[in-house]
Amino acid sequence: MPGALSSSNARMLISGLAVVVFLAVWEVAPRMGLVDVMYSSQPSRVMAAGLDVLRSSAFLHDVAVSFSEFAIGFPLAIAIGVPLGLLLGMFPVLRYVLDPPIMAIYATPHLALLPILVVWLGIGMESKIAVVFAGGVIPILVNCMAGVRGVERSWVLAARSFSAGKWDVFSKVILPASLPGVILGIRLGVSRAVLGVVVAEMYQSQAGVGNEITRYGSEFRTDYLLFYVLLVSVFGFAATWAVRALEEKLWTAGK
């Protein structure tokens, strides 16, 4: 036990040290004239920019816009992806018909749809919600389908031979057993959805975090740009981590 503890301590120490060294080099290199600070910025400048942004009134508005695009599009992706995935997993004929187009969409970078979605839905929030939905729904659907197909056949047969009805088989065997696939799909969908919000806003928008990134990018204000990038990374990381924690909880509850 002390061995395990000290190895996780060593991990924290070395990882932390690597980050500190990276930040120090990043801070010092522009001061020594090795790189142009306009291109590379500096940790101290990014922090100053961050404080400045946090104090501004526009910040809350941007975050609210971006977050509501995510908060509408992603639940929509879950609400449609999960039932459709379960259905496709349970009925092979339906799967044979819909699987090829779904796989084709899965193999396509969903952000390539951006320009056409903007033509269809305009430059407002609708096109961003659509991109978030498109990014989230496909991994959710595919993994739900795989989850159902991975259910042990003998469990279904056992339930049936104890005279379980169709609904009982679904609600008591198939649904719980395919839950890991469902959650995995949601976890994979989250990061695609977060990327979708930001990139869609960067492409065409009037407000939001992505809009700020493009604006500061075109003004070459690298410090502000990096603060927003950091903000999105932290959000994406936190969302993925939350789903992963839920996943682990379900795993231990299932055992």
Binding site: S15, A18, P101, I116, Y203, G217, S218, V232, S233
Partner: protein, 257 residues
Amino acid sequence: MTVNSKASPVLLGVASFAVILLLWEAVVRLGWANPFFISEPSAIALSLIQAARSGELRHNLAVSLGEFAVGYGASVVVGVLAGALAGRFRIVEYILDPFLWFLYSAPLIAFYPIFVIWFGLGVPTVIAITFLLSVTQIAASTLSGIQNVNPGLIRAARSFGATERDLLWKVVLPASVPTMIAGLRLGIGRALMGVVVAELFGATAGLGFSIAYYGGLLKTTNMLASLIVIVVLGVVCTQALSAVEAQFDSWRTGPGS
């Protein structure tokens, strides 16, 4: 019976594409939908033929594929190397860990203005974004592949006098290659995304650029034509790597087991 049950999914799949195309064409022809928004398959086919004849398609395809090849190729070399080093030396793993996590969850496309100042507009920027998007996936999968090697097997091989080289070729690689190849496949998806999205923003040629360009002109037919080329490209790349993956699947048990 077996032929029949094997053929029917393929048949149904082809039929479903055919039905989608027919419905799409019919909806526009019957005047239920405005072709300005959704175009129609026949017009898209015509525009594809036109683009192929004029050399526009070949040029865009060559640019995008070139960027993809360089960016993805570099990420395979760097990703596998970094993942292998991290798998072999724990200290390298600890050092790389926070950076991999950041790159994995960061919206890397947002760096394109900085890349444009560093490398210039167009091909180099697209390659940089492609590289960064796929390298994290490949490094992470290589690392987890190596970590999945059963330590009992390594101890057993050592106690029978295996050298470092024997260990690598006979124990570590066979056990880790399947996960690594899966990472290479996922990396292809991310690299393709990198090429297309980077071209939407900071490029002067390529398939993604042509989507954005025609989008600006509101020419839906030409946009959808480029989009369909990207869909086909995505399917072909993923299928190719799945075939490679199936080849290496026999390694899962290891030779001689």
